[in-house]
Amino acid sequence: MGETVLETQGLTMRFGGVIAANNVDFKLQARELRCLIGPNGAGKSTFFKCISGLQTPTEGQVYMRGQETTRWMPHEIASLGVGIKTQTPNVMDALSVFENIWLAARRFHAPSDAERKTQEIIERLALGSIARKDLGQLAHGERQRVELGLVAVGDPWLVLLDEPAAGMSAEDVARMTEIIHELNKTAAVVIVEHDMQFIRSIAEKVTVFHQGAVLMEDHVDRVLSDPTVRNVYLGKKA
């Protein structure tokens, strides 16, 4: 651990009168795995979009490895070595699995290396049997897996995943968990997630969002047994 790879200071995002993220201070260490949880509308996804460059925060700063990236575009952030996966599968539907991953690999590797790297990822993620298929023909779980391949092929040091387990079968989720642990060996990982079972299986430290702000930050077991958090999830007054 040691090095802070991602930090936000007073990050705030307003949409008109609505404050979607409110003064969020967040810190992530190298090779840490952190889950962001919270009920619908808690601001997790807005926070995610602000750090990945998909939205520009109204106030506050974002730092990655000490460098300010607050107003950067997604491609600039990705170029730093940050792997990003959005909520809905975001892939090139009319291109094959190989083509998709090759395009991601080519950004960070020379043409000859890109090919080798693509093969490597296809083997690592067990995509060999569908490598020549177009993404549009694949099942949801496979598409999610390919998208993780797009993230992994750039050898990122920070990985941002928005609901990677959404809508997946138990088997797919188990596989996904494995892949994320694999990624976590070399990269810090931020996961926005709803699925409590998945969170239990993967997370250690969890940040709870509520009404745009950080409600709590602690080990997963303590967070999930915390009465305040339970109330927030069940919609009662804390």
Partner: protein, 352 residues
Amino acid sequence: MPGQVHNPGGLQKDLMATVIVTGLLVWLMPMLISTYTLTVLIIYGMLGLSLGLIWGFGGILCFGQAAFFGLGAYSYAIAAINFGESTLPMILAVLVPAVVAALLGALMFYGRLTDVYLGVITLVVTLILFKFVNSTAGPQYVIGKARLGGFNGIPGFQTLNVPGRPEAYIWGDAYFYVCAVLLALVFVLVTVLLRSSFGRVAVGIRENETRMSLMGYDVRARKTILFAIGAAIAGLAGALFANWGEIVTPSLFSLGQSAEIIIWCIVGGLGTRLGPILGAAGLAYLKFLLGQQSLVDNTLITGLILVLFVLFLPRGIVPAVSGLWQSRIGRGRRSRRPQTRRGAISRERFNG
């Protein structure tokens, strides 16, 4: 597919095929159609390819490709009058549209305009150019020695000559060969471009811009560059057209011209290199034939063809024919490649 893209033999085969097909066509076609008519079909083919490249492979639907065609033609005419020699004007005819497109493209793509607005802006730019050039009849509109001439256009400029020898004009059959070779060269350049990483990234951007930017690609810069390359090709076609017609008029910038280029691409087949060329040459020849009679208006026929294609062959001629071809061939090889039809599309899609 990528494996084939990295196979240098694939490119060599493509180049060989281009040379052989060009040779055959240049030899055989003059027996059927006059070289004078063929020349303009080739020029339109090049213009079709320019839009086919940026729209079919880059996803940039430009309603104003005629603007770059016209800019190329006018740049050539104006420069040719001033220099009295054709080499530098030819170069300028490629550069001026490319620079204008780079500026316009940067404005649009860095402004994060969506497709619809992009269409509107390119359309409006074409209209502005058309209106402007139309209104330059007065003697005050002069660039160097060249009067812009308004709706009368610019006649009487130096046409193509052997580089460095202004008195050695290239015309008639020789000009037809020059145009054919230039189209083949542009086709090869487009092939190489599409096989390169740049071309494949462009296809990725066409498919999903957000994903490509999340993977670290600067979508804005790449679209701007591709847009400029398309404009350069259109400009070259414009200069060749100016030489062919020996006059340039504002009608080059007209909306009708812009619309026709789009129709060529749809009918020929988007996402292929050959489709827009065939669509352009085929429809332009049809228009030429229809122009010889007065029974039906030829725009009606063009419109009807477009409607029929959109309804019954929405992917255009080339993808339909190659799909049919692949499924015929594929029957024997089904065990080796189970999804031949899609495979065929995918190869064409990525390699052009």
